[in-house]
């Protein structure tokens, strides 16, 4: 019996050793030591083909990007491939862990810190020829520890989207479009009827944060967490009061998945959404007429939030020079306008703004938001803090704004320091 188990152990031991050998054997090919660092500096160069990994919003985006990359490939003579990820963060993580990441990839600002922190990213922002053309707030959104990491590929801001039919039916005119919180609450009240809520939005900081911005608050300012400031408390208290009165509501509380759905179904007469809503309205609710206005001013003036992605570059990429060239190509004025036409995003560069505004006069309010928009803070762990904030906001109606914000403050302080 003892003999038997000793043999068993021996067998297991042998297996372990073989396994370890096999793994270290793999080290020759699959698990190379990471070579580059996140520091700006020399780019690698070779004639290797490059890969662009995208998380697409739909066929329109996939086709447009594929076409653009093919055109670049033709021009530069370097083979390039577009891969569509079904779960971008997961596929990126796998690529980095295996030491074989895509050369360029879509990257969200909240994921920037994690990848920059472990050295997976190449900071190439300062080497972009069109560096100064990007909106400063976007550059800031992709700056981590004073380094501009990657080129913003496009962006969106939030605006006030109004259901034209319900607006007219309530006897309101263009002059009534709210420009202050007081006007917003009064039109919301006018628009609220049986089965329709005046203003609906998703139950998350990504929408309610606009009120905090308008009140002069936010999450982080000059490297300090300011979540529990009086401005933020005022903003949440305002939202809470309106929700208690029944003139504002969460889209989820009226049974929709997001603000656009509740708006399209006519459950809410106004919503706070970004320019992606145009696509959803065309596809799912073609009969609903709507207008887009800038969000009303709060006590501290205008405020909105912006959302963006950049073209991240892998530190382990074998052909960073080509990747940089492709990033410049994709963020050129011409390409930005082409993308905008294909799938409705806003160009991240200022030189395309005039053309865009004249092409999309109805959506000008979204682009106007670029001047005063706040982005998501780029500290490691921000995503978790915001997820936690959102889970608190979901109970805002019965909650205590000060208490909710105090929790956010302590969570933020832990990552900002």
């Amino acid at each position: 019996m003892t003999r038997h188990s000793r043999r068993g152990l021996l067998g297991a031991g042998a297996l372990l050793v073989t396994g370890a050998l096999a793994l270290t054997g793999c080290g020759g090919s699959g698990f190379e030591e990471p070579a580059g660092t996140g520091e700006a500096g020399e780019l690698t160069s070779s004639d290797e083909a490059i890969t662009l990994l995208i998380g697409t919003s739909g066929d329109a985006e996939t086709d447009a990007v594929t076409e653009a990359v093919a055109a670049w490939s033709e021009e530069s003579g370097i083979d390039a491939e577009v891969k569509v990820a079904t779960d971008l963060p997961q596929e990126l993580s796998q690529g980095f862990a295996a030491g074989d990441p895509p050369d360029l990839f879509y990257l969200a600002p909240e994921a920037l810190a994690g990848y920059a922190g472990n050295g997976s990213l190449k900071a190439y922002g300062d080497q972009l020829e069109n560096k100064d053309d990007f909106y400063p707030s976007l550059v800031e959104n992709f700056t981590f520890e004073d380094e501009f990491y990657c080129a913003p590929k496009d962006f969106s801001t939030l605006g006030l989207v109004i259901n034209k039919g319900l607006w007219d039916a309530a006897g309101l005119t263009d002059d009534d479009i709210p420009t202050t919180w007081e006007e917003l609450s009064s039109v919301a009240q006018t628009l609220t009827t049986d089965g329709v809520v005046g203003l609906g939005y998703g139950w998350e900081w990504q929408r309610i944060g606009t009120f905090m911005a308008q009140a002069g608050g936010g999450l982080v300012e000059d490297g300090t967490a300011i979540a529990s400031s009086q401005e933020n408390v005022d903003a949440l208290t305002y939202v809470q009061d309106q929700m208690t009165a029944g003139t504002f509501a969460y889209a989820q509380d009226v049974g929709a998945g997001w603000g656009g759905e509740a708006f399209g179904k006519g459950q809410t007469a106004m919503t706070i959404e970004g320019n992606w809503i145009t696509g959803a309205m065309t596809n799912d609710f073609p009969d609903v007429e709507y207008v887009v206005a800038e969000l009303p001013e709060g006590p501290a003036g205008k405020g909105t939030l912006q959302f963006t992605n950049c073209l991240g570059m892998a530190a382990d990429s074998g052909n960073q020079e080509a990747a940089l060239d492709l990033a410049e190509y994709l963020t050129s004025t011409e390409q930005q306008l082409a993308f905008s036409e294909a799938f409705g995003v806003m160009p991240s560069i200022q030189s395309a703004a005039d053309q865009w505004t004249s092409d999309n006069p109805d959506l000008a309010a979204f682009l106007a938001g670029a001047d005063y928009a706040q982005g998501i803070p780029t500290y490691d762990g921000t995503a978790d803090v915001i997820t936690d904030f959102n889970s608190e906001l979901q109970g805002l109606k019965a909650g205590d704004p000060q208490q909710i914000l105090d929790t956010v403050q302590s969570n933020l302080e832990a990552i900002v320091s």
């Binding site: 067998g11 297996l15 372990l16 073989t18 396994g19 096999a22 793994l23 270290t24 080290g27 699959g30 698990f31 190379e32 030591e33 990471p34 963060p89 997961q90 993580s93 980095f96 862990a97 030491g99 994921a111 994690g114 990848y115 922190g117 472990n118 050295g119 997976s120 139950w203 969460y250 989820q252 509380d253 009226v254 049974g255 762990g381 995503a383 978790d384 803090v385 997820t387 936690d388 889970s391 608190e392 979901q394 109970g395 969570n411 832990a414």
Partner: protein, 400 residues
Amino acid sequence: MTATATAPRRARNTRSGIRRGEALAGWVFTLPVILILGVFLLIPVLMALWVSVSDWTGRGSPLSANVGFVGLQNYAAVTTGDGLATRDFGTALRNNTWYVILVVPLQTALSLFLALLVNGAILRGRGIFRTAFYFPSVTASVAITVLFLFLFSTSGVVNEILGAIGITGPNWFADPRGLLHILFGAVGITDGPAVLAEGDFLGLSWWNWLAGPSVAMTVFIIMAIFTTSGTFMLLFLAALQNISPEVQEAAMVDGANAWERFWRVTLPQLKPALFTVLTLGLVGCWQVFDQIYTGTRGQPAKTTLTPAYLSYDASFLDQDWGQGAAIAFILFAIIVVLTIFQRWALRDRPVSARRARQYQLAPRPATASPATVAANQVPSPPGPAQTPAADRGDDKEAKP
């Protein structure tokens, strides 16, 4: 005894005769499985264990030279302090505990009930029912999750039906209120007593631990019971078919009614199957991931967050691979401990004094006929005085 023990050993040592090479052949035959299990199971588990005590950040190989050993730091990050990581882990643990407490007993009871139903010889169309009950188990859990998302949406079928009988259904997947908190609220208790609200465990106050599963989580609980009871029904059914009808008949002759036959005769014989079902149920429930990933991703208000999903979230989305692996191993420890506990709880026990007394012969009534006396004597397990011997006898009876 010694002579017989040494003789074969010497024979094995010299490795002569026709048995030579058998050991080698054995290894060769098992090698493919050992390799497959090793490469795809053992080594990944060991690597994950290493990651959980390292500062690997997700770039390059975790075995490379610049990954350092940090001891139990990752475990400490999710279990000590009052930071976000600890609170998230506490919340996930709370949610999953309620999930387990409700799903495991209910699915076991339901599957046993279904198995008894379709085992009955008198039921017509047994095959159809067996297939129907088993069907949810063979459907992909992602597909069922999507189906449930529709069924339990605000204006979904479930709420329509509830509406038809005059009940306003909740906004299922958007309702973070805990069931117990709702109950407490109904009797006017909205804040826990100070002693519950003050003290906390893993960053979560005791009052929040007592929230119960949220309305959203309840949907997943219903779904889990619905999808798994078919599989477990099959296990119980197999065990039921193994019980020989003679035992049932003997019990009938002894005058046991249907309930007694189930409780005293059938169920004890199902103990091995019961252990299997409970263990599989427990393991499956603690690992719930795909429903959460496809369905809610922890929303609303983190009440459907589970440790398995949190582990994924920490690793793939936050690049905290050490913490993610640490959560996975804490989960592993919880499952092992609970399984051992369950094994202990379901062990074969000597007949208790109370139970034994029931079998003892009553003082012979004057009017008793010899037949009733004989019937009374048939089930005569040993009395409490004989416990050591009784143990073994009882063991044999419990394991057919």
